[in-house]
Subunit: 143 residues, 4 copies
């Protein structure tokens, strides 16, 4: 099974930054987590606000928690807020349930990690996560 | 780049108290945080209730977290409560999303800290934070 | 019973800073808590390191927790470390058991609050807390 | 005052990895924090164990907390374990008191951030942090 190496994680971040620059987005923060929810790589662009690491990794962590992109968590938070609140609580407060957390899968569907992005609109954050994952040769699962 | 020294922080607090006295407001609590979210100075006027330090610093911390005044967090908490709940969770429960947390910037727009005030109405709290920041020669960004 | 007003708390901080300046100490951070462990006033001198508020208030909070100056906690941490570890745990991790946290009492022995100082040696921190409390007309109880 | 930009942070990480490769060290994890303790960049080399991000950032966070390299915390943890335990508690459990957390200062002595490294011996981790900071043109303060 392909692994999410540091080289690939850095490639995801660079591709996400490239997509953001092309669309003239605000400064982004990008976290790449392995399938166990542990950080492989992170970069925060100049001009980002204070808590962007926690937000970016919270989106990715939330996606891994339920095996779906954080867009699903965002929708669920509207329909069944108590479920997402409970999920946040049992995670130790590690989840940010808004779009921008996207799962990375192999062509066979195996989960290898997740990417969380914050800084622009949630939709734009998510689009950059998808661009980064696909540039690294994986399949993006945004939920 | 100008720094937010203790002298300036004390000046912000005194100017905020002065604005409150002039408008006959209730007793205020004022927290001044540096750009990294760490406390420089705090004062709680006699007659304030128990948890005013936590509320004042929670407004300022929230403003720094997202790079906008806590009024933005207050509006977002109505429109997308799950985002603010997630932000609160990944901050370790350090955010109070109501007006009264205001960013302090230099004339060039550089962020140097934030002021959080509580005790009167949120609008009045915010007005005193703005008055304090401007009295110290900085630009107030209430979001 | 005399109260620990904001004016008195500010006086304690100024007297502590004065004692430190006279002895050419390093930059200090001074927290003044009421008898319930809640912050009344805090000031951090320029050049202090990041977590000085947490350390200063942790000394004062610890003193209030057991009704003795934090020097007693420091001695107890050597003799019975498990007691201080348990105390820290049940406090929610709010205690720093080293000298520099001093109780403030009235002439009649009534407890009105505590002062915590950090920045120089623990002995010097404690001496400044005592100086501040006495300058405000209270009795310092360093444990 | 010079800022610790993302470009400089990435340069620190690459130089630290270069020093480690030259000395044939084990896989390293490198965290670069700003002066307020917030993550700018992180990379974990392939083959590292699970909690390396928390360890690397815990060394850097501890150095910033007290304004000295984490080697000072390591020595203090032997001499006065209760102080370091209290510091860890009031930090919310964010400190790893072993060598490998090094402050980055400008030529004028201004603090701009800290680097934390883990993966090889603590002495080697620290040497790579120093090498990274110096390669970026800053002064390394290992405490």
């Amino acid at each position: 099974m392909p692994q999410l190496t540091l080289d690939l994680a850095n490639g995801i971040i660079n591709a996400a930054f490239g997509a953001a620059a092309k669309a003239r987005m605000k400064p982004l923060s990008v976290a790449v987590l392995d399938a166990g929810g542990h950080l492989i790589a992170f970069q925060k662009q100049d001009g980002s606000s204070m808590l962007r690491f926690e937000i970016a990794s919270g989106k990715a962590y939330g996606a891994l928690a339920v095996g779906m992109g954080s867009r699903w968590l965002s929708n669920t938070a509207v329909e069944r807020p108590h479920f997402v609140q409970g999920l946040s609580a049992v995670s130790g407060g590690r989840i940010v349930p808004v779009p921008g957390g996207v799962l990375a899968r192999t062509a066979d569907g195996d989960l290898i990690g997740a990417v969380g992005i914050t800084g622009d609109t949630s939709d734009n954050d998510e689009a950059c996560a998808v661009a980064g994952i696909e540039a690294a040769g994986f399949v993006a699962d945004a939920g």
